[in-house]
């Protein structure tokens, strides 16, 4: 196991260099002048251009630029935006909001999605089954921004239970509605995946064995059946958490949340190349680590998987 983790961590190195190089080159080679419009209506003075060109090493070859950037990055310096704000400060402000939003979304997926899946997987009530299958289909079909708008209109404007947008420090309470919107798609998938998984395992031989052993029904379901059915669901939730940690551009946009997703979007729109590169680097790292954790979790859940 230890060797496996070490090997996986070593594999992260080439992936890290590959993705960061790719994103660095792409972002800086996008056509267009990053300093256009930075000085109001007038063209920027040559002295400013020269200073900025030097600051971002734009006079160097792109690969030299990349390695100069990496050198600073390894010292913990993400660089600055054109207006001189530290990018690490921006990330530091935005990340807690994204983490809060991700946790809320994951709770929705885990609680509502799992509950709906377990109820329909175990139960025999046609009505409940149809209700869940149809409502999850609706959630899967609707784009997230539509779900977001509906929530805003119904709960924000008609009922007045919440404010339509989230204030800039994004407390937990205000993130509940956006968290639900962000979770909606995966929640529907979790419900369906759980349902299918339970229905498949219900007829499994080992469940029949547990019944034939005379184990009480609660235990047959609660221990033997659900433990096996949980394997694909837990894996899905783990991978989804990785995606959620990368921020949610659409949901954050709809609710005006100042999270990582919003920063990426803003960076791309305003050609803040340094900001985009820094953010994507962080996201790549988070995603790689989350994936490793999911793979390890998989081995914990299913003893047939061995990493030796």
């Amino acid at each position: 196991m230890g060797r496996y983790i070490l090997r996986r961590l070593l594999q992260l190195i080439p992936v890290f260099f590959g993705t960061t190089l790719l994103i660095y080159v792409l972002v800086w080679l996008v056509p267009g002048d990053p300093f256009a419009g930075k000085c109001g209506d007038r063209a920027c003075p040559p002295a400013y251009i020269e200073q900025m060109t030097h600051k971002y090493n734009l006079d160097q070859n792109i690969f030299v630029q990349y390695f100069l950037y990496l050198g600073k990055l390894f010292q913990g310096d993400f660089g600055q935006t054109y207006s001189g704000v530290d990018i690490s400060t921006l990330i530091g402000q935005a990340y807690p909001i994204t983490v809060r939003l991700a946790i809320i979304a994951l709770i929705f997926e885990g609680v509502i999605g799992l509950a709906a899946g377990i109820i329909t997987g175990l139960g025999r009530k046609r009505f409940v089954d149809n209700l869940v299958m149809i409502s999850t289909l609706v959630l899967i079909s609707l784009p997230v921004f539509v779900t977001g708008f509906i929530i805003q209109v119904v709960f924000g404007m008609d009922l007045g239970w919440m404010s339509v947008t989230v204030s800039s420090d994004a407390p937990w309470g205000e993130l509940i509605a956006p968290g639900f919107v962000l979770a909606s798609l995966s929640m529907a998938y979790v419900a369906r995946l759980t349902r299918t998984s339970i229905k498949e395992n219900k007829r499994a031989d080992y469940v029949r064995t547990a019944i034939a052993k005379g184990q009480p029904q609660k235990r047959v379901i609660g221990i033997h059946l659900l433990r096996n059915s949980a394997i694909p669901v837990m894996t899905f939730l783990g991978q989804d958490l990785g995606a959620l940690m990368g921020g949610a551009i659409v949901t954050e946009g709809v609710f005006n949340i100042k999270g990582i997703g919003g920063l990426v979007k803003q960076g791309i729109e305003t050609k803040e190349s340094m900001q985009v590169v820094g953010l994507v680097t962080i996201l790549v790292l988070v995603f790689l680590v989350m994936n490793l954790i999911v793979d390890l979790l998989y081995a914990v859940l299913d003893p047939r998987i061995r990493y030796d």
């Binding site: 007829r203 499994a204 031989d205 080992y206 029949r208 064995t209 547990a210 019944i211 034939a212 052993k213 005379g214 184990q215 009480p216 029904q217 235990r219 033997h224 433990r227 096996n228 394997i231 859940l301 299913d302 003893p303 047939r304």
Partner: protein
Amino acid sequence: MTDIQQGGDTATTMTEDAQGQPALEVSDLHVEFRTRDGVATVLNGVSYHVDPGETLAVLGESGSGKSVTAQTVMGILDSPPGFVTGGEVRYQGENLLTATESRRVAVRGEEVAMIFQDSLSALNPVFTVGFQIEEQFRIRRGMSRKDARKRAVELLDLVKIPNPQSRVTQYPHEFSGGMRQRAMIAMSLALDPEVLIADEPTTALDVTVQAQIMDLLGELQRERNMALILITHDLGVVADVADRIAVMYAGRIVESGDVYSLYRNPAHPYTLALLESIPRLDVRGQELNTIKGLPPNLMRIPEGCPFNPRCTRAEDRCRTEMPELHQLGEGRASRCHFASELINNG
């Protein structure tokens, strides 16, 4: 075994009662499968019994209903599609089919236990073998983890698994097929059942391992004076361990009797055909005998004797008239119109 449980003053009278009574008796059992395509009558009045300390082999092709009978006895028939439409399953005189659900759960494992064909899928893949054995002691008997572990190791040792101490913490996929079936046997014996049903316990194993598992089962059965119902389609397996045989065809017992006289002198053409289809080492270069045709579609069982379309000596009568179960003396019975002729000519 019985003596220990009964004990006290009543021991003599109870033992006498128990001696006169089969450990398990199935009588006139009817089961149908209601599917979208129609109703299949899978069991059409199956009756058999097994006495304490006796081994009954239930023999038949796939689809003859031998496993369904066992599942009905255990109360693990998938329903839907399976429905019991008549008959009784009596354990020491008590009808299990009308017993309460909690009584049925209590009977499983404790009184009647079962082992399955494919041990890899029948054991839970995510729990250790030890956990699955200990569960019986912890949940059914309220034992502590430590005591349950001790008992699990003892059981693995009993079924001759080497290094039971370390094996107990392993998962089913870490066992070989034979070892896994041994573990399954250990698990079924945990609560000292009076009746053990083995549903094709050796079918998934290779031949040398098959013999070892059968020997083990026979040994344990004798030691514990258990009643053993051995479900199989393998006539070779049967000859070594069974006391009596019940041959099933299309959801009925077509012939029953003690193993020696039934092998020597079958009183039903189906049994005869089964025996003739055993490959023989001493006759070389001869084509293997097979039974022509297929078992009947259980949604449309032929009129008369269900075996008549495949039977070599069927007459007009067989196509219209369902043969009764003819008692032939000495515990022999056959459901063939010509049963007495067959047994006399043999």
